[in-house]
């Protein structure tokens, strides 16, 4: 039995102070949110992305026309045509409608590979960094091989060999991004692994799994997450690029990269209509990039 004593005056004082600190200091995320709120660029980019997301999610409700229904008599109308605000494409389909619907696939293909790569890459990277030794060698030397390819080339190579299709494109992009996330995850984990609190946890008998779950993940997920958000922009550009090359999405499915490709022939007829899908990719990609920068600053992640 431990001797339950009445707290001394000093102990009571400490307890009161601790409670005050707890009440006053806000959580980590509240601090991050406060810093984000003070950053106009991040707020603007975040709002644009949110609006776009809403627009493409509710595309069936706001789109004025059918995305697949064309007409030979109204092909390649200019921007500002009544009823067809942003003009029509080479098959007479409404551009605005197709941009709204096209965003769904473009966003999906830009985000899905990064999310999958985030999960797989973090797992492998944390294992490599935490276990070390041969496991580290095996995982890191394998990533070195994929690093030996320029990312666009690797994506084109894999999806070119597998053939066109959304699934193949996502698979190729995931394989491109996994090694990049592994590298970041491994290096942050290495940094955390030798800190005192990990040693303390190990000394108190915690298993490796518990240490990773309780002590390591909380410290490495932030930096990896920030890095992953910065990959979304790249992923969207490459994904649309694959569709632009005829890999990825297949016609008549609306997708920004593919629309850009099919409208390329119309460049001498309706040049400004033809470049619209690319403008959408550009805006989305730059917003994701700036958002990632803002998050990095707000979460105080170095690098």
């Amino acid at each position: 039995m431990s001797t339950a004593t009445t707290p001394t005056a000093a102990e009571a004082e400490l307890a009161v102070q601790a409670r005050q600190v707890q009440a006053k200091s806000e959580g980590y995320w509240a601090g991050v949110w406060k810093r984000v709120r003070r950053d106009p660029v991040t707020i603007v980019c975040g709002s644009i992305l949110l609006l776009m997301l809403l627009a493409i999610v509710f595309a069936p409700l706001i789109a004025p026309h059918d995305p697949y229904q064309g007409s030979m008599i109204r092909r390649l109308k200019p921007i500002g045509t009544p009823n067809y605000l942003l003009g029509t494409d080479e098959l007479g389909r409404d551009i605005l409608t197709r941009l709204l619907y096209g965003g769904r696939l473009s966003w999906f293909m830009g985000i899905a590979p990064v999310v999958i790569a985030f999960v797989v890459g973090t797992t492998l990277g944390v294992i490599a960094g935490f276990v070390g030794g041969r496991m580290n060698m095996a995982i890191m030397r394998t990533t070195d091989v994929f690093y030996a390819f320029p990312s666009v080339l690797l994506a084109v190579a894999i999806s070119g060999a597998l053939g066109a299709g959304i699934f193949n494109a996502i698979l190729a992009l995931t394989l491109v991004f996994i090694p990049q996330i592994i590298r970041v995850a491994e290096s942050v984990t290495q940094g955390v692994r030798n800190l005192d609190f990990v040693d303390a946890a190990r000394a108190s008998g915690a298993s490796g799994f518990t240490i990773v779950r309780v002590h390591v993940l909380g410290n490495v997920l932030g930096p990896i997450f920030v890095y992953a958000t910065s990959l979304i922009s790249v992923c969207m550009i490459i994904a649309s690029g694959l569709s632009f090359l005829g890999l990825g999405t297949k016609p008549p499915e609306p997708e920004w990269g593919l629309m850009l490709n099919t409208l390329r022939t119309a460049i001498y007829v309706q040049p400004w209509v033809a470049v619209l899908p690319g403008a959408c990719i550009f805006v989305t990609s730059i917003c994701f990039n700036l958002l990632a920068d803002g998050l990095r600053q707000a979460m105080d992640v170095k690098g």
């Binding site: 091989v145 030996a148 320029p150 190579a157 060999a161 690319g278 920068d293």
Partner: protein
């Protein structure tokens, strides 16, 4: 130094082998039996078996890889399924054109990036700095194939100043040093240069800002060195890292130019890859990827060696 060099080259060998293996696997992961890529679909079964044995396709995967590697090592990349010509014959002129474009674009990007990044790093927090950072973010976020189209719309369609496609007059694919050829190079080069421009700007800005904060710069100023003198010191400190970034960018552009080459019908490896994908010409796809990836491995090695040679702060451990 020689020992270090040898060791670095030695380390690159397993990477090169593994890259070769990935390229070899590209044909294996392709849907369908690779034999269908060689014999016509209506060939009798015994002929198919004969060809399968001749090509070693009945042997285990690793043996096949060895066979393939021994052919590749002597420059035999197989034959194109579409044209029947050796892959290397089409590839080597394409590589010249791609190198030309990638080199021009990364040089332009490097110069612009150094100027922008240097100014931004020196005058940190100024309007100039914010503009440079904005340009850099735009440069890395822009889908360059789209930028190429916009360039064509402005400079070819609307203004009619520059040609929209090809590498020379009359669709010629051989390079020549005259105005007609240079005119064809302008738009693809500018389009492709925005990526290295953005990345070099970011890097140089960071390096310069860091150097400017160091004490030796204050000491140099304190001893009365002119602005130009301080500038030279900063350049000397920033150069190794900036050059390393630039070297890697050249490699990325070799691979990444596929999209821009498609937009401008530039007769390089990108266009070759594009038509190979379109016709499902796997030997061409495999050969092109292999050569580009090997180039990238070699370039990585060179960048490492040059950086070590230039920068005494890196230990040759």
């Amino acid at each position: 130094m020689l020992l270090y060099l040898l060791r670095r080259v030695f380390y690159a060998v397993p990477i090169a082998l593994a890259v070769g293996f990935v390229c070899f696997m590209l044909v294996q992961i392709a849907p369908g039996d690779p034999i269908n890529a060689i014999v016509p679909p209506d060939a009798p079964a015994d002929v198919v078996d004969q060809v399968r044995r001749d090509y070693g396709l009945d042997k285990p995967l690793l043996v096949q890889f060895g066979l393939w590697l021994s052919k590749v090592a002597v420059g035999d990349l197989g034959r194109s399924l579409a044209t029947g010509r050796p892959v290397w014959a089409d590839l080597h002129s394409a590589i010249g054109n791609t190198l030309m474009l990638a080199f021009a674009a990364s040089s332009l990007g490097f110069v612009l990036g150094c100027v922008l990044g240097g100014l931004a790093g020196t005058f940190r927090g100024s309007v100039l700095d914010r503009t440079a950072v904005g340009v850099a973010v735009a440069g890395v976020s822009v889908p360059h194939y789209w930028l190429g189209m916009v360039m064509v719309v402005i400079f070819s369609v609307q203004l009619n100043w520059l040609p929209a496609m090809g590498a020379g007059p009359g669709g010629s694919s051989d390079w020549g040093w005259d105005w007609d050829h240079v005119k064809h190079l302008v738009l693809p080069t500018v389009t492709l240069s925005v990526i290295p421009m953005g990345i070099v700007t970011r890097t140089v800005r960071g390096i310069v800002a860091e150097i400017m904060n160091q004490e030796f710069v204050v000491a140099l100023r304190g001893k009365g060195l002119t602005r130009w003198g301080v500038f030279l010191h900063v350049v000397k400190n920033a150069a190794p890292n900036a050059l390393a970034v630039m070297g890697l960018q050249l490699g990325y552009l070799m691979g990444g130019s596929i999209l821009v080459e498609t937009v401008f019908s530039w007769p390089g490896t990108g266009l070759l890859l594009n038509s190979a994908i379109f016709q499902r010409d796997l030997p061409v796809l495999q050969g092109t990827i292999l050569v580009l990836a090997m180039f990238f491995v070699a370039l990585n090695l060179c960048v490492d060696l040059v950086q070590t040679a230039l920068d005494p702060r890196i230990k040759r451990g």
